[in-house]
Subunit: 457 residues, 2 copies
């Protein structure tokens, strides 16, 4: 059935208010790692005011400094229940001088809102809030809705698993919508059917007690940076394959039916390379197509490295230590626990005499593959088709959204209703969100609520 | 001849004033890279006041923000002339929380003065100033003295060569003393007979235009950190030898007579390892003794590396670029210009598709080997023997003191009269200088002046 006319009209006539409200939300620099500055608290207060205004009961779940928000509106215990997941925390802004307008002073121009968190994930959250408001202010909400809004997604969701397990019974729902991803291209609505898993560790190589003069002592002691560089370099072979023991165990081939859908997608490698500003797409395993490498193969990247003198000019030191942050992306049935152990063994066996190494594990979660024949998937697919005028295609995403796998493992029927676009610059300077996607996303969310209500009749 | 009694007595009776004066000088945080904060200017003003007080004419040579100080006192154009070199710039303090007392609040305890620059090189400069004052305030200076005090030694002396060449005729002297090194152990006076050269470069690997999400794009693009780590790692082979083309050309074997002197030195490898806080001295080339590796073999160290997210916790980025500071230490007849070219070729050939690399050269100078049979060497050796009560041994130093080679190439008879001790923690937290070395160094400097005057009679 089509989306109720009154709901649709409400959405159309309240676009300006919605954009203003999103801008207000984006002004809050809710970086999870900076929770001590009170910004996460401000974001939670903003969410509480907004959701209580829509009749929701709002609770805060751990951790205290950047809590998970659980908001519920139960209209009738017998009615279907929709669980919506988003996160209010955002990435650090990175290099400020690369932003055209400051990351936390949202700027609306040319049909986009530019700000850190615009697309990842406050804009996508806002689309759902708009749908809830439109139903609430017109016909009245026809299903029960639970919103789960996390504050630690960008730092690997360290408390998510424990919190979800502790509150599992209260999260029961007939379908769970996760909106924290993007389309494959600007014109093709897509639904994401698989996500990669993540293992994120920090490796530190400790050498001499203090920084040493590299002239006086050079040649005597092992340099922690040189040793760490050798360890990181050894993680790949000359064909770009990861050398961790057992790394490719449980990596399944992609089914031909799925592969055929991918081949029908518009994907111009040289345009993609141009967008990223590289002259060659030579990452990952040699000899495989780019989309396979991003969606269906595991990868390993060094996300940060630091050691010795890193200021202007020169300083001749052998540093006392050096650190590398390493993440792997996992696919199919790869076991994240096994990969963590494999990394630890690899580092131990690549720690030379004269160096002491440590491995700190920040996060680990397996890949998620969602079934593509569920009722929830059909409901979402129809809603997206109605909102954007095209039947969505099934794609994958190389990123990790840990909540998806956790909700799935709790027995929930999860769907990924993503609203980002390829040019949204996630985790980069000049992150943005398209207003068309905001308005279309609100329609899709409202239509999904309608479809769930209709099915229960 | 023995040092004039009046000079000696003046030195003995003015120890407290001299320590106070050194403390005052050490309070000035004259880090060359921070010259914009005015501290280098303050250090120059302090030197000007002090030297003008001793009857010297003081000039400032380029560069303007951290000038080279040239001070002269010509008592008689026919008298012998001694040139003394030191530097007033100091290393950055490094990790502040590892200092027992703050680096620029000098603390005198247990016979040492603790501060950044205490031993490298303000304390050694002070020993010469004390000798000049003692002569000036008693008998009167018996030789001409020129002081050359640099402000860029810790950043590779970028202007030194040009300035020395521009003022070569005014630097003419019968002997040049460079005091910017240390003894081999606390009880054995030594004179340094060779120094390693230095090539210092910064390598940057540029990848995508902006930082990318490592989940979404991981496997598509080459990660600049991973590529840089591979490049740095490839600079050594599994035997610790440097793989740069031609790197070991012109590396001479050490003469047996010199080797025998080194074998007579007290050097306990396990105690040295304990002092540095490492469980193994596995740096440099496998199979060579530690002193040979430090004094007579070239080495390569990464002095700093930086890329991606280096803050607390995790951020899943593929960074747009990564940077490594690399220095090599050169020995014997190795050609620093050839090494620079070899590094550039190496980096170019280790830059993978998808990466653009740059190499910036910060400094390069060849090794210095001083003849051990000159008159200046004899003069200095006798002065050290008188001041410290033991005939000094000839050693080498793995560090670079670029001025030494430059003065030598200008035809000057250069000697290295070093006053530091192994525990002085150069370039590290808790740098210190022994008051005994300060007082003994002042006697040695005064005695060298006496010896030069005596020889001219």
């Amino acid at each position: 059935m089509m989306l109720d006319r009154r709901v649709n009209e409400y959405l159309d006539s309240h676009r300006d208010e919605s954009v203003r409200s999103l801008v207000e939300f984006l002004r809050i620099p809710s970086i999870a790692n900076n929770s001590a500055d009170g910004s996460c608290r401000k974001a939670v207060d903003w969410l509480r005011r907004t959701l209580e205004g829509l009749g929701f009961t709002v609770e805060e779940l751990p951790p205290r400094d950047r809590p998970m928000v659980l908001a519920q509106r139960i209209i009738n215990p017998a009615a279907p229940t929709l669980l919506i997941y988003n996160h209010y925390d955002v990435q650090p802004p990175g290099e400020l001088d690369k932003w055209t307008t400051p990351p936390f002073e949202p700027d609306v121009r040319d049909g986009f809102v530019y700000a850190r968190g615009a697309s990842d994930d406050k804009g996508q959250l806002m689309a759902h809030l708009m749908a809830l408001e439109a139903w609430d202010k017109t016909v009245g909400l026809p299903v029960n809705v639970k919103m789960l809004i996390e504050g630690e997604e960008e730092v690997g969701s360290p408390h998510l698993k424990d919190v979800l397990e502790a509150h599992a019974s209260r999260l029961a729902a007939d379908a769970a919508v996760v909106s924290d991803g993007g389309w494959h291209d600007d014109d093709t609505p897509t639904i994401t059917q698989a996500l990669r898993g993540l293992v994120y560790v920090e490796i530190t190589f400790h050498g001499p007690t203090a920084d040493l003069h590299s002239g006086i002592h050079g040649g005597a002691v092992v340099n922690p940076i040189n040793a760490l560089a050798a360890c990181v370099a050894a993680m790949h072979d000359e064909n770009g394959r990861v050398t961790l023991e057992g790394f490719y165990d449980d990596v399944d081939e992609v089914e031909p039916a799925i592969l055929r859908q991918w081949e029908s997608l518009r994907f111009d490698e040289s345009q993609y390379a141009r967008e990223l500003g590289v002259d060659s797409l030579a990452g990952g395993e040699k000899g495989l197509p780019v989309l396979i490498r991003r969606w269906a193969r595991p990868t390993l990247d060094c996300n940060g490295i630091c050691g010795g003198y890193t200021g202007e000019g020169s300083k001749t030191v052998i540093p006392s230590h050096a650190t590398a942050k390493i993440s792997t992306r996992l696919v199919a049935r790869q076991d994240d626990n096994k990969i963590v152990e494999s990394i630890k063994r690899f580092v131990a066996s690549h720690t030379p005499a004269g160096i002491r190494s440590t491995v700190e594990v920040f996060a680990h979660s397996p890949a998620v593959v969602l079934s593509h024949n569920t009722l929830a998937m059909k409901t979402a697919s129809d809603a997206v088709a109605e909102a954007f005028g095209k039947t969505p295609k099934l794609i994958r995403c190389g990123a990790s959204v840990p909540v998806t796998g956790l909700l799935q493992s709790m027995g929930l029927d999860v769907i990924l209703l993503d609203l980002g676009l390829p040019g949204d610059a996630w985790h980069s300077p000049n992150e943005r969100f398209s207003l068309e996607q905001l308005f279309g996303g609100a329609r899709a969310s409202a239509a999904m609520i309608q479809n769930m209500a209709d099915m229960a009749r």
